[in-house]
Every structure is written in structure tokens, then in C-alpha cells.
Symmetry: C2
């Protein structure tokens, strides 16, 4: 892996570029974003070695091309660069849904080596200012290689992500989509919903919602500040798994609603005790900050 | 306000004691917890000046008594200390629901000066180790004085909370309960639910849920690690407002479910854009950490 082209220079693309610079400095990077302002800012921040004026220029000669665009934009972005791809180049991405991306890339780039990937990492911020080199450290990156792709290519992409500090897992695209519906997509959908609900109530003012948000609500506002286009595309492109998990969530919420209505404290207490143990495991496995309140500076 | 008695020495009670020591050091503090181990630990940490062996001892001569116990335990706790209360003492609390607490305290302590209060602050941790002096700084503390309570007493309690760094607001108990249902109780209920749902799915293992939790789920595990007894009591004691707001949330979630099913990206995008603005306001008003990801040390 000598040269890597990054298409889309927002939070993820920018972080990939910065992580390469910091941790795998021998790799030459090029990049492209369809927004000229983003390209200018990417140049200023040095997100990649060379910011190109077209996607085709960026991928010219690249061993690995990583599409860092919303999942709904993958097919069009891949189509733009098709004519210039080096034979044998690996095409990958960082999208949050994988079955739809695999299909989109297969349509746009028939005959190419396509290995969809998803680094499970991010923040609520977006754009060329948001990226940073350590985003992937100790985070999992899931590869979903289609049947028949060369093992050497999968190994090369795994090694690449490991070199950025990530831990790599391989699974099939449909299982990925179900797992991520649980650990990412439904949490985002719920956060967006409750923030919307809170700001639409007639009986409670928006100012009150903001003032008293430290009671728990503010955590949801962080997630609900995530990039609107990216998330719209995730829900439209992982519809099946999202609706399935949402159905389960709704059933469980209805059961709790009934417990509250009937004054069934034991049911509530049992659940609240079980969920506490999960937090412990998340921390023990290095997947969250162990400090209270995520280490917010409230408490400094 | 020369002497303050704190009944219950967990996260909130301990933080009140430490905040007094740090910011209002002329006030003499006593404390009591019904758990002997908590009393020992409170003594070691110096959460209050004197840890007493009974609630009655702790409140003997106190100008202000603050009940820092789960809202379901308020009436019993207040009953224990009734015989020893100094005439004119103010009785307050830190509970998350206020109508039920006002009624419980009125039953247990007829004729006393009762001013329920709720500092909107906390972390997911609990117990005598969890408290810290700056918990209330720049957080709102809501007082819900019943009709007829003396203005001087309300002023004294307001000044007390301000001296600990809090901003004070006065509202009636039923409005408090609705506002907090939105900004705290429903967020907790939803977090508990999704963490439970995720850990009960057959198709996705618990290990997968933990591994890929950085996609959003881990935020919910923090809230769902909150004290089980405290939160059971909140839901049982603020049933009306919780069920009302939950109904609104469920309606909104159903509408989003329909938008996803029908591929209505505009509805999704519109909501996700609106919710982003709320985050900005939460930060602008000093109610959350502006750093990405709450400043988690992932990114150090």
C-alpha cells in the first residue's frame, strides 16, 4: 500500500488522512472533495498530501481508494473515478451501512476489487475541520469482503486499518447491518426523535428544555447533532435492519410503559440493574471513558 | 443558615456536603445514612463535619435539613427525624420528582417549613465515593415552594444553593414534573430500554453490542448505569408526566418509522437539521461540554 486516495474530506476522510500522516507516514495520500471550500480547507489543514481538483486525478495511480462520502452518494462518487482506476486497486469506503454500499460499488465498478469497510468511530462534528489523527485508535473497523475477493487484498486492507490504530473484524454485510442497527443506527434514531419531541412540546418551552438538559437530555443532543445527510442516507440504506430492531425496541418500551402504569417497581428495578452491568463491560473493554459523565469538564 | 443536616450520603448528599465545605465553609454540617458502611466511608472522606448514628441526632439543632434519599423513601426518612426537628427549620430535598415529594413530606412533617428542591445535576455513579464539590456549579436548582411558605425561607434556601454555585429557579411542582419528564426522566427510560433491547437480541451477541458500542450505543449505557433504586422511584412517583411525554415520543417515533419505511428522506433530513440547532443552544448556554464527544479521552 504505497498510495491512498481519499474521496470526501469531512470528519472521516480527514481523519484517515491525518492518521496516515501520523502513523503510516510512508504512504502517499491524495484527496478530493466535490466542495471547493472543503478542498481549500483540506489543503490548509494538510489532511492529505495533495488535494486534487477532480476525483479522477486523485485516484490516478492509487493502490487504495477510500470513499468517505454519505452512503447514498457512493454510487455516483465511484462512477466518477472509474475511468482512472489503476488495475488491481482496492476500492473501499467508511460507510455505516454495508449491504447497500456493496451493491452500489459493484454496480459502479464491475470487475474491480471492492472491499467495503466501516470504522466504528466518529464524533457529532462534521466537515474538514472535524477530523483528527487518533479517531480510529482502539476502535473496531469492520470489513465486509464480498465472496470471491482475493485474500491478499483483504489482508492488505486489514493491515492498513491496523496501522491507523484500529482493531479489525471481518463479517458479512448483512450481519454488519443488523449489528450496527443496534449499536449505532437505532441509538441515533432515538436521539433524533427525543430531541425533536422535546422541542415541539407546547407545555414545556424550548428554553426550559435547554436549561434543564443536564438531567440527561443533553447527552441525546450530542448524538442528534450528527451530520443530517449522512444519517438520512444511513436510515434509507439500512431500512430492513433498522425497522426490525426498532420493532423490538418499541415492544420493550411498551412493556416498561405498562410497568410504570401499573406501579410494577420490580420490573423496573430488574432492568435497571441489568443495564448497569453492560456499562461496566463497555468500559472494561476499552470502548468508553471510565470517568463519570465521560469526563466532561463540568467537573473540573 | 448556620447548620445543615444531610440525610442520605450518596452521590447527591455527599456532593452537597463537599460543596458546603469548599464554598460555604462557615456552615456546620452533620449527616446520616441508614447504611453503616456508607456512614464509615462518609467519615473517611469527610463528606460532612459529623456523621451521626441516627437521623434524629443529625437534625438536632439544624437550620436546614436536606433529604438526599430516593423519592420513594422520603416519607419514611422524614418520619424518623420529625421528633428532633428544631422549630423553624427548613426541610428540603434533592429528589427528581416534586409533586409526590411535596405530598410525602407534608404527610410526614405537618406544620413544618417544607420547600422541595431539585438540583438538576448528577452523574451515572452513586454511593459515598461518587460525590464531588463542583457538582452543582453552573447547574440549575429548581425550588418548588408550596403555597403559603414564608418568603424568607425560600430566599434563604435560594441563597444556600447559589452559594454552592447553582443557579436557582422557582416553579410549581407539577410544572417541574413535566419539564423534568422531558429533560431527564424520558431520556433515562429510553436509555434503559435500548440497552435492555440490545442485550436481549438473539441475532446479535452481547459481545458484539459491547465491541461496536462506539457507534452511539455507549452513550446510552452511561445513562443506563444510573442508580436503579433512585430511578425506579422516579418513574413510580412521576407516572402521569412520564406517561404523557412518553406518548408524545412514541407518536414521533412512529412518524419517523413511517418515513424510513416509505423512503421519505426529506422528513428525516428536516428533523436532523432542526435537532442540530438544539445542541448549539445547549452549549451556548453552558449546559454541556463543547468539545467533540464530550471531551472523551479516546481522542487524547
Amino acid at each position: 500500500m504505497k498510495t491512498v486516495a481519499i474521496i470526501g474530506l469531512g470528519l472521516l476522510g480527514g481523519s484517515v488522512g491525518l492518521a496516515i500522516k501520523e502513523r503510516a507516514g510512508t504512504i502517499v495520500t491524495t484527496g478530493y472533495d466535490r466542495d471547493a471550500e472543503v478542498r481549500d480547507r483540506a489543503t490548509e489543514r494538510g489532511l492529505v498530501g495533495t488535494v486534487c481538483e477532480t476525483a479522477a486525478q486523485a485516484v490516478d495511480g492509487a493502490d487504495l481508494v477510500i470513499l468517505c462520502v454519505p452512503v447514498g452518494a457512493m454510487e455516483a462518487a465511484a462512477g466518477e473515478l472509474a475511468p482512472q482506476l489503476k488495475p488491481g486497486a482496492i476500492i473501499s469506503d467508511v460507510g455505516s451501512s454495508k449491504e447497500s454500499v456493496a451493491q452500489a460499488l459493484a454496480r459502479a465498478l464491475p470487475g474491480h476489487t471492492i472491499i467495503p469497510a466501516h470504522p466504528v468511530a466518529g464524533t457529532e462534528q462534521s466537515g474538514p475541520e472535524a477530523g483528527f489523527a487518533s479517531l480510529f485508535v482502539n476502535r473496531w473497523c469492520i470489513l465486509t469482503p464480498p465472496e470471491g475477493v482475493e485474500k491478499e487484498a483483504v489482508k492488505a486492507l486489514s493491515d492498513f486499518w491496523a496501522s491507523l490504530g484500529a482493531r479489525v473484524e471481518i463479517m458479512d454485510a448483512s450481519h454488519h447491518d443488523l449489528v450496527l442497527a443496534v449499536t449505532s443506527h437505532i441509538p441515533h434514531l432515538i436521539a433524533y426523535t427525543i430531541v425533536g419531541t422535546a422541542s415541539d412540546l407546547e407545555e414545556v418551552t424550548r428554553s426550559e428544555v435547554i436549561k434543564y438538559s443536564a438531567g440527561g437530555f443533553r447527552d441525546f443532543t450530542r448524538i442528534a447533532a450528527s451530520d443530517p445527510v449522512m444519517w438520512r442516507d444511513v436510515f434509507l440504506n439500512n431500512k430492513g435492519a433498522v425497522l426490525e430492531v426498532l420493532g423490538r425496541f418499541t415492544e420493550d418500551l411498551t412493556a416498561l410503559q405498562r410497568a410504570i402504569r401499573s406501579g410494577d417497581g420490580d420490573t423496573l428495578h430488574d432492568l435497571f440493574t441489568r443495564t448497569r452491568a453492560i456499562r461496566r463491560e463497555v468500559i472494561d473493554q476499552g470502548q468508553d471513558d471510565e470517568r463519570p459523565d465521560f469526563g466532561r469538564k463540568d467537573h473540573s
